[in-house]
């Protein structure tokens, strides 16, 4: 069965979705990612969807779910590189993904993640 690779870069996990998602793949990604966050003690997850051309409500909701799950496991999630057509589709489906952070490309997403994690570190330090 095909799987989506999850790459570890320091304290971040990098997921690049380069094929069209179907429901089973989405579910297995959720499983893999959550267990990987725990085993790698990741502080941040970067999901690159710049190659994703089609989404449905299930996949859309999956992004929200993954972000929520990561937060429970103490990791921040940033979704980067969403295409205009995908963004319009999600909004039309009523999924504006309020809990998910987004960035235009990997570079910006990495910057955002670093900012988020260092801000969190500062908070924890002061508390």
């Amino acid at each position: 069965m095909e799987r989506i690779p999850i790459l570890k870069m320091g304290e971040y996990l990098l997921v690049t979705i380069q094929i069209d998602m179907h429901d089973r793949l989405a579910m297995s990604l959720q499983d893999d990612l959550t267990s990987r966050i725990v085993s790698a003690r990741a502080k941040g997850v970067l999901i690159d969807i710049s190659a994703l051309e089609m989404v449905d409500s299930f996949i859309g909701r999956m992004f929200g779910d993954i972000a929520a799950m990561s937060r429970v496991l103490d990791a921040e999630t940033v979704v980067v590189g969403m295409r205009p057509a995908v963004a319009i589709t999600l909004v039309e489906l009523g999924l504006s993904l309020p809990g998910v952070r987004t960035a235009l490309n990997i570079e910006r997403g990495m910057e955002l993640l670093r900012g988020l994690i260092s801000a969190r570190g500062a908070d924890a330090g002061s508390a």
């Binding site: 969403m82 205009p84 963004a87 909004v91 987004t102 235009l104």
Partner: protein, 305 residues
């Protein structure tokens, strides 16, 4: 009886065509609906002659229904006439009078040919047929006008949604006119595509030119903001007039976390601040000459941090 009527119509058309044509054209030229500025007597004469020829051919088939195949030529001619008149700016009644003005000369001749008593019953089918032809003309005219309107709408839509770059990484979308679903779609697509192309982090949507904001418009704005956010760009809505602020609150529209500003300059200031830039005065009395260049460069050079 109906076929008789068509047959006698056919007779008239064959025997008396020249005089009928003359009377018909005179009728139209003398009517108040005649537009000498748009059409000439000669042109009208040509149209009428062609119509009579086509109608004679159609009537020869004995078919009365103007939507039937033998009448295709007549319909085609009326189509062309109506559409061209619609584009030239004729009114619907001026266009339909082309057919209705034929009634008087034609019925006069039918009456003469058939005699008073018979004419009353025989005129009816011919009358009905001309009415239908007249209505058909009006319908086609209307359709022609609608096509003009649709084309103009499309042109307007393409014209009125520019996305401008205020600064590197800051886009502005000055909206002008009412926002309906179709326009929102175009606006949204344009904006999102420009965000991808330019890699802008902030987009300012300026609604100074939007006359009214109702719940639907607000919904469309919020959708655009949400889509831009999904792509990783922040949106600021600016140019909200006092009345519109009141309307938004009265309607109970929830703008949520969207940043709103009264003017475009306020929004621009916020955008620069987000990017870690700022605008600074470089000298107390700027010289007029290089004011422009120095002033705008200041934002980039002195703003870091």
């Amino acid at each position: 009886m109906a076929t008789d009527s068509i047959a006698s119509l056919n007779d008239i058309l064959q025997k008396d065509e020249g005089a009928l044509l003359q009377a018909w054209v005179d009728n139209q030229v003398n009517a108040p609906t005649f537009r000498p500025d748009r059409t000439s007597r000669q042109e009208l004469m040509d149209h009428c002659r062609r119509f009579l020829t086509l109608m004679r051919d159609a009537a020869r088939s004995g078919e009365q229904d103007i939507m039937s195949p033998p009448w295709a030529g007549v319909r085609q001619m009326l189509d062309d006439l109506s559409v061209s008149r619609a584009q030239q700016g004729f009114s619907p009644s001026e266009t339909a009078s082309f057919i209705f003005s034929l009634k008087q000369p034609l019925f006069d001749r039918l009456q003469k040919a058939l005699g008073q008593a018979e004419a009353v019953t025989r005129l009816w089918p011919a009358n009905l047929m001309l009415d239908r032809l007249g209505l058909y003309t009006t319908e086609v005219f209307q359709r022609g006008r609608e096509q003009v309107i649709i084309r103009q709408q499309q042109e307007l839509m393409e014209l009125s949604t520019p996305v401008v770059t205020l600064w590197e990484g800051v886009l502005a979308l000055p909206l002008i006119g009412t926002l309906d679903s179709a326009r929102t779609q175009v606006v949204m697509e344009n904006l999102l595509q420009r965000i991808v192309d330019s890699g802008a982090a902030i987009a300012v949507i300026d609604i100074t030119g939007v006359p009214t904001v109702d719940t639907v418009t607000a919904q469309h704005l919020l959708k655009t903001v949400a889509a831009a956010r999904l792509m990783g760009a922040d949106c600021i809505i600016s140019g909200i007039r006092p009345q519109i602020a009141q309307t938004i609150v009265h309607l109970g529209v929830e703008l949520g976390a969207v940043i709103t500003k009264a003017t475009l300059s306020d929004a621009f200031a916020i955008a620069l601040k987000r990017l870690g830039l700022g605008v600074q005065k470089v000298s107390a009395a700027p010289r007029r000459r290089d004011d422009d260049g120095a002033g705008s460069r200041a934002a980039g050079e002195h703003g870091e941090g």
